[in-house]
């Protein structure tokens, strides 16, 4: 932790040659990973990092300088570089910034820091999960288990006088399995993660997670090839909110809107989705993977209603984009690390639960596809076109779930799909992921209730993705 006085001195240096705003972001981080494949611990690593990012803003333009040398000399040097980048003005008077500590609106209590858990213990848990998945029989040929944890301490100070200290701890587990039968290969994938210390184990069983993935890969061996064509699609809550996050959420980020790269530009107040659809981004929910008390420029994490009963009500803003639109930040300014400037990002994004009983939605569907688990995909945010793989799907006939199908892909257009939703369930299911944008990955969660889309194009070619990365969608 650096002293406030030093931070204030750096801020003064950063605005020496003028500018509207300066900020320093300090980060110290410990992380570890345990990776099991082929029935053995393939990789274990641990890392420690620290660094500072200094930002100077002038007329909406940004100079960003970072260094991992946190000495006074190095920080002052970095501030001088940043101050020269945007301005040619002469030296300003010295300003003393009185940094006031900002209070969070909710507490996150951590019981046991992951770095205090021995590798023995972590490995034991990972190997138990591996064993559990393999106990399902010979057909399970490969099991990979990846455990990752991260503990970050941050400090943010800016020339508005804000000072924020925060501690962030996350643990996540990925289980991926491959099942074989007579030349046929099917994969299963499950992940869980939260803002939590090692006490995540009180809520999540690594073994159950691995068994779930293994069961899925075995069940899909019995699946028939998916049909192709346009058909009604019911997306179960457990599929998570990948679709709403990727195909709509990004288009509601203010930077993309302001650059004219979103289908939602100039649509504020307009009807953009079916009446049943309300979309929310909420950084304040419990211990969800995308939860935070402060965003990465020191604003409070918030709950923001983006679409209300089908009408566009708000975008997600960081400080700079909010200023440009003359509004206040929605607390969505996030960055991957001290190496990156903050940009508008989602936190926990979801379609709000509706009124329908999920079983009844299926019963009232004469024919269609039930999607229970999504895979990877690709999205063009300029026009909202998407392609997603489906990991687990079933055919619905006369309101009944008939048989599993494999190799389905969903292709369509996000904004169009939001208009095509005709039923919304009273349940809600989450998925976690690392969302990539502008070369920065941040942890997010997304969710949706069971929804029915009137018509969607289903492609039927089998695609496998054995990549053990956390669901990382490729975006244009």
């Amino acid at each position: 932790m650096l002293k406030k006085e030093l931070l204030a001195e750096v801020l003064d240096q950063a605005l020496q040659r003028g500018g509207d705003f300066a900020e320093i972001y300090i980060e110290e981080k410990k992380s570890s990973n345990v990776f099991c494949e082929d029935n053995r611990i393939e990789k274990v690593n641990s890392g420690r990092e620290k660094g500072a990012g200094i930002r100077v803003v002038k007329d909406g333009n940004t100079a960003y300088v970072y260094t991992n040398d946190l000495s006074r000399d190095s920080l002052i040097k970095a501030a001088i570089v940043a101050s020269h980048a945007l301005s040619t003005e002469n030296k300003h008077e010295k300003t003393t910034y009185n940094l006031t500590t900002k209070q969070a609106e909710f507490e996150i209590k951590y019981k046991q820091m992951p770095e205090d858990v021995s590798f023995d213990k972590k490995i034991e848990n990972v190997m138990q999960a591996n064993k559990a998945a393999r106990s399902l029989g010979e057909e399970i040929r490969q099991v990979t288990i990846a455990l990752g944890d991260i503990h970050k301490n941050i400090q943010i100070a800016n020339t508005d006088g804000d000072y924020v200290e925060d501690e962030r701890v996350r643990v996540r587990l990925i289980a991926s399995t491959v099942a074989h039968r007579e030349g046929l290969i099917q994969t299963g994938y499950e992940s869980a993660g939260s803002v939590s210390g090692w006490e995540i184990l009180e809520k999540v069983s690594f073994e159950d997670l691995a068994i779930k993935a293994a069961n899925l890969s075995i069940e899909m061996l019995d699946a028939k090839p998916a049909p192709a064509g346009r058909m009604p699609v019911v997306m179960a809550a457990e599929a998570g909110g990948t679709m709403v996050h990727e195909a709509c959420g990004h288009g509601l980020e203010a930077d993309l809107v302001q650059k004219g790269l979103s289908v939602y530009k100039n649509k504020m107040g307009e009807k953009v989705a079916a009446d049943e659809v309300t979309v929310i981004d909420d950084a304040t929910i419990g211990n969800k993977y995308g939860t935070y008390r402060f965003d990465d420029e020191g604003n409070l994490g918030e709950r923001t209603t983006l679409i209300k009963d089908g009408y566009l009500t708000n975008y997600m803003y960081d400080r700079l984009t909010a200023e440009k639109d003359g509004v206040v930040s929605t607390g969505n300014g996030r960055r991957e690390s001290y190496q990156h400037k903050p940009i508008p990002r989602m936190s926990n994004t979801f379609i709000e639960s509706g009124k329908s009983d999920p079983d009844e939605i299926i019963k009232s569907t004469p024919q269609g596809l039930l999607v229970k688990k999504m895979g990877g995909g690709q999205v063009n945010t300029t026009n909202g076109d998407f392609v997603f793989e489906v990991q687990e799907a079933y055919i619905i006939e006369k309101g009944e779930i008939k048989y599993p199908v494999r190799g389905a892909t969903l292709s369509g257009n996000g904004p169009v799909v939001l208009n095509e939703i005709d039923r919304v369930g009273n349940d809600l299911g989450y998925a976690i992921g690392t969302c990539g944008k502008g070369g920065q990955g941040v942890p997010v969660a997304d969710a949706q209730p069971t929804i029915r889309i009137k018509q969607l194009t289903v492609g039927g070619t089998s695609l496998d993705d054995e990549n053990l990365q956390i669901k990382r969608i490729r975006r244009k």
Partner: protein
């Protein structure tokens, strides 16, 4: 910088000697400048400096790894101890070895261009501005410049291990890019162009701006087509996307894990005879050229596929040991934060004689492919791919109207065997290079 990094490396090696483990210190110092302009203003200017250490320990065949960006004595000692501690838990594997020392590295004076340091930042900003201006001026249908910018990177890499290996070199390169949207009649399409060069004087913002604009405009007013099997032309960029799939298939790590269709195919005909591919870590002006790989093995020019015949796979020290061969100098790592694993350097097709126009000119009805979506979903085990695509119809040897929303499907083996002609217009996209390629036919899924 070398002497500073060397001090840290020596510390790592000394502690490791004392503890009786094999160890490697990998140090990277990296300096980056990136400039993004919007409407001629510098929207973002970023300068970064970073130094870090990755310590790989091999303790009786057990691997341990830890990294730090804090190079203080305490942090370095802690990180070596962490790596040793971790090595107690991993499974022993006799193939975990460090490369031998006393290597002779190729001379590469072309990997460092001092003019990147001499040129004023204002001049670099102007290059980004020029790319943006050129794109806007190119055509009135260019509606939004998403990003236009300039970037350069300088890096120094030092590797030392307990076998007496010592390697240090530094390199740099720079690039210009433009990403934009072209619009007409309510239809919006993306266009882009990227140029990366080892010499500052080779960067040309005018080419980048014009190409990005034309790249977007040619996709406007696209039509749908019905499903068909058609002769296809792959743009160099599209061919490099397919080469990413081939790169996975010739990766010895994937081969050894049974994840490659090319396993057991060494010496066999896997592609049409006009298809040749090398991985050349020494290629003059190549972005990925460097005297040694990420564990200090000297860079080489490796033939991968020659006249359609698979010559061999790409190895790092671990996979080479496992297969009883020598490392091909293909250990790669993203940064000091990760262990080395097999990767490509300059992964290049060998160009042919004909121009792109000549290749297109012989097709009566065909499809010129300019975009693929979802390439990462292709299966390197089965070779099957089914990806979204866009392009331009070829009629009587001429490019006609744009086509969008089709899928192309097939198998990479058939794809390679269906290659009929290879163009002379070799072009790099990052570390991959390809010319225009003509395929006998591909299945195109339309309406």
């Amino acid at each position: 910088m070398e002497s500073l990094l060397k001090l840290v490396a020596e510390k790592v090696i000394n502690i490791s000697y004392d503890k009786g483990v094999d160890a490697e210190a990998f140090l990277l110092h990296d300096r980056e400048l990136s400039i993004e302009v919007i409407n001629g203003n510098v929207e973002t200017l970023k300068q970064a400096e970073e130094t870090g250490l990755g310590v790989r320990v091999i303790n009786k065949g057990r691997l341990g790894f830890a990294y730090t960006s804090d190079l203080s004595d305490e942090a370095v000692t802690a990180v070596v101890n962490d790596a040793i501690k971790i090595s107690a838990y991993t499974a022993p594997d006799e193939n975990h070895r460090l490369p031998e020392g006393n290597n002779i590295y190729p001379e590469m004076d072309f990997i460092y261009d001092d003019s990147f340091n001499q040129v004023d930042i204002e001049e670099k900003i102007n290059m980004a501005r020029l790319a943006e201006e050129t794109a806007i001026a190119n055509d009135s249908r260019v509606s939004v410049i998403e990003r236009a910018g300039y970037e350069d990177t300088e890096f120094g890499s030092l590797i030392m291990n307990t076998n007496g290996l010592y390697a240090y070199a530094k390199g740099n390169f720079g690039g210009i890019y433009t990403f934009l949207v072209a619009e007409e009649n309510g239809d919006a399409q993306n266009g882009f162009s990227v140029m990366v060069k080892r010499n500052l004087k080779d960067l040309n913002p005018i080419i980048v701006g014009n190409e990005a604009a034309q790249n977007g405009i040619r996709s406007l007013n696209a039509k749908a087509i019905s499903s068909a099997k058609l002769p296809c032309i792959m743009e160099p960029y599209i061919m490099t996307r397919f080469m990413s799939l081939i790169a996975q298939m010739v990766n010895a790590g994937a081969v050894q894990k049974g994840k490659s269709l090319f396993a057991d195919k060494e010496g066999e005909m896997v592609a049409a005879p006009m298809f040749s591919l090398v991985d050349d870590g020494t290629w003059k002006d190549g972005i990925a050229s460097f005297p040694f790989d990420s564990e200090g093995v000297e860079a080489k020019n490796n033939e991968v596929i020659k006249d359609g015949i698979l010559q061999g796979f790409l190895y790092d020290t671990y996979t080479a040991h496992k297969s009883g061969v020598k490392s091909t100098g293909n250990a790669a790592r993203g940064s000091f934060r990760s262990l080395p694993s097999v990767g490509t350097t300059n992964f290049m097709m060998i160009p042919g004689q004909e121009s792109a126009e000549q290749l297109i000119g012989t097709i009566k009805k065909g499809f010129y492919i300019t975009e693929v979506m979802g390439m990462h979903t292709a299966n390197p085990v089965s070779g099957d791919f089914s990806v979204g695509a866009a392009g331009i119809m070829i009629e009587n040897g001429i490019l006609t109207y744009a086509v969008r929303g089709v899928t192309i499907a097939g198998n990479i083996i058939e794809f390679l065997q269906d290659i009929e002609a290879v163009g002379n217009d070799l072009r790099f996209y990052g570390g991959r290079a390809a010319p225009t390629v003509r395929l006998k036919q591909l299945s195109i899924g339309g309406e």
